[in-house]
């Protein structure tokens, strides 16, 4: 903003035509871009700094709270629920990320051909992505209900034992991972499909002429050509997983026995149901730092692999 002011005063001193043009451009530029950028920066940078300050207090959301230094961060290290939330989120990440990349690319390859009704299939894969997590959560929460659900009903019909599913501490997180995968992987399909459609036919045909089989073409032509999308989807998937909240809220509410508490769900609980906002802000900051580290590590790894090729 200060640079704008100096630019304005400089422009107003000499009113030669090019300067006047520059002044006009600065004014229109900022009038056009100002409102949108102010809202975004105002609702991200200001709260970000505030959250950092909060994380050093014992704020209860209503009063500012006392300064407690690093107490919140120290408490976090020993907090069993936080550890559980970390484990749950890590499990989701390790199961979901590879699955969404592999299945996304596989389905996109299947869809990338001239078959009648291809648009219909693509629509089908996107429907769960478009529906709200609330709707998906309520619906799947019912289908995977231990006592009344359709899934156990089918197992019983087939003569198999009913499972604990969302009520079982050992199965709940796995079931949630399946539901999460179902709602999100259509995105990978669409992104990969767009990338596949940009691979020129000549390259694929040339590989075939060189005697490459289907698998070799896939491995050595298709996979490398969509690599930038794989990197993007991996980063996007990580952000998605680390912000996993809605489905937990509408199915298990973190239960049974904290088996499905994710980091973000824990932040929400801490700040808005237990009113320990300072502590919640500390957990949120650790989450943010973790996200950044994972993303940077992922990007560096992708770059190194790319350089080696």
């Amino acid at each position: 903003m200060t640079s704008t002011a100096t630019a304005l005063s400089r422009a107003s001193r000499h009113t030669t035509p090019p300067d006047r043009r520059k002044l006009a451009d600065n004014i229109t530029g900022w009038t056009f871009a100002g409102p949108a950028t102010l809202i975004i920066l105002g609702f991200s940078l200001v709260p970000m700094a505030w959250a950092l300050a909060l994380s050093f207090t014992d704020s209860d959301l209503m009063s500012p709270g006392r300064n407690v230094g690093l107490e919140n961060y120290r408490a976090l290290v020993a907090d069993p629920v936080f550890h559980q939330a970390l484990r749950n989120t890590a499990l989701l990440l390790f199961l979901y990320l590879p699955a969404s990349l592999v299945a996304g690319l596989a389905v996109a390859v299947l869809l990338n051909r001239k078959v009648r009704g291809i648009g219909f299939y693509r629509t089908c894969f996107l429907v769960p992505y478009v529906a709200s997590a609330t709707a998906a959560g309520l619906l799947m929460g019912y289908i995977f209900d231990r006592d009344f659900g359709l899934f156990n009903g089918m197992l019983v019909k087939l003569g198999l034992p009913a499972q604990g599913l969302l009520s079982s501490p050992s199965q709940a997180m796995l079931v949630l991972t399946v539901i999460f995968f179902w709602t999100r992987f259509g995105f990978s399909v669409v992104i990969y499909l767009a990338a596949l459609q940009e691979i020129s036919k000549e390259v694929v045909e040339a590989a075939a002429i060189d005697g490459a089989g289907r698998w070799a073409t896939f491995r050595h032509v298709i996979v490398p050509s969509v690599r930038h999308m794989t990197v993007f989807l991996a980063v996007w998937g990580m952000i998605d997983v680390l912000q996993f909240f809605d489905l937990v809220m509408t199915t298990t509410k973190g239960g049974p026995a904290n088996a499905t508490v994710t980091i973000v769900y824990y932040v929400w609980q801490l700040a808005f149901t237990y009113f320990t906002a300072g502590y919640g802000a500390a957990v949120a900051y650790v989450l943010f730092a973790g996200t950044l580290v994972l993303i940077v590590a992922g990007l560096l790894l992708a770059r190194r692999k790319g350089a080696m090729r």
């Binding site: 078959v115 529906a131 709707a135």
Partner: protein, 272 residues
């Protein structure tokens, strides 16, 4: 050359896979038409014995659902209009006008996409609490008047937009504003439509922020309303499913209607 080809064998792979993905939604509709007694049977039936609209009646008349629906329409509508106008203008400025600080601000804006909302949500709540705006529909709208994704989409769209049109307008003596609103906006309709579709779906489906900032039932959005409705009527699954169907219909409609634009927006956000 043969006129008609046999249906491709790939249908045998693709059809079952895509069916499995949408089948839960089909059953969502079917179960919303069942009676409570039917749905409380175990195993639950796949197909309703007869079409029963009781679930719809109970959710529409026995709860504030119509009110929540209206709130969602108002909030998402306002957000869509604001984002199309504000992000459209900002994207045009970043792509076309050379002004001081534009590069830096654009990078900053795009970088904010990496900040999780969960990090900023507590202070954002405190800000709204301080100005006394919690528990209002305004609190749902204001933080989403603009978005980093929207600005990014519009900037990359206008960068690939032919300059000749505007130059013709400028020569005719129009101001930048007049050129933008009379010449550029009408031609940019496809990109604005793509932004509108993606913004509507995101705004309509939002649960986290409304859950945090809204207290009174009369101001719930459909997503919050549905979540609490389910909590209070655990046994009435047909009504919960009816509410779920009604909540999903608007996004599904917008998605099916604007699918091409939606996919453009998703994939356009990635290229660059």
């Amino acid at each position: 050359m043969r006129r008609r080809r046999l249906p491709s064998g790939w249908h045998l792979v693709l059809a079952p896979m895509s069916l499995v993905t949408v089948l839960p939604f089909v059953w969502m509709v079917l179960s919303s038409l069942m009676t409570q007694a039917e749905l409380n049977r175990f195993p639950p039936p796949i197909w309703p014995d007869a079409v029963d609209l009781g679930g719809y009646q109970r959710v529409l008349e026995g709860s504030d659902f119509p009110r929540w629906f209206l709130n969602s329409v108002l909030v998402s509508g306002a957000i869509v209009v604001a984002q199309v106008v504000l992000c459209g203008m900002a994207g045009y400025a970043f792509a076309r006008i050379r002004f001081v600080g534009s590069r830096l601000v654009l990078v900053l804006v795009i970088a904010t996409a990496l900040i999780p909302f969960q990090l900023t949500v507590i202070p954002t709540f405190l800000i709204f609490n301080k100005v006394g705006l919690t528990d209002t529909l305004g609190a749902l709208i204001v933080p989403q008047l603009s978005s980093a994704v929207g600005i990014y989409l519009m900037t990359s769209f206008f960068q690939s937009f032919p300059k000749e049109l505007e130059e013709a307008g400028r020569i005719d003596g129009c101001s930048r504003f007049a050129v933008f609103f009379r010449v550029v906006l009408p031609v940019a309709k496809p990109a604005l439509a793509a932004l509108a579709v993606i913004t509507f779906i995101t705004a309509w489906n939002d649960l986290f922020w409304p859950l945090v900032v809204i207290n009174s039932e009369a101001k719930y959005t459909v997503q919050v309303g549905l979540t609490t409705f389910q909590g209070q009527h655990r046994a009435d699954w047909p009504a919960v499913m009816a509410g779920t169907v009604l909540t999903t219909l608007p996004v599904l409609g917008v998605f099916l209607f604007g699918q091409r634009r939606f996919i453009q927006a998703l994939t356009g956000a990635v290229k660059g």
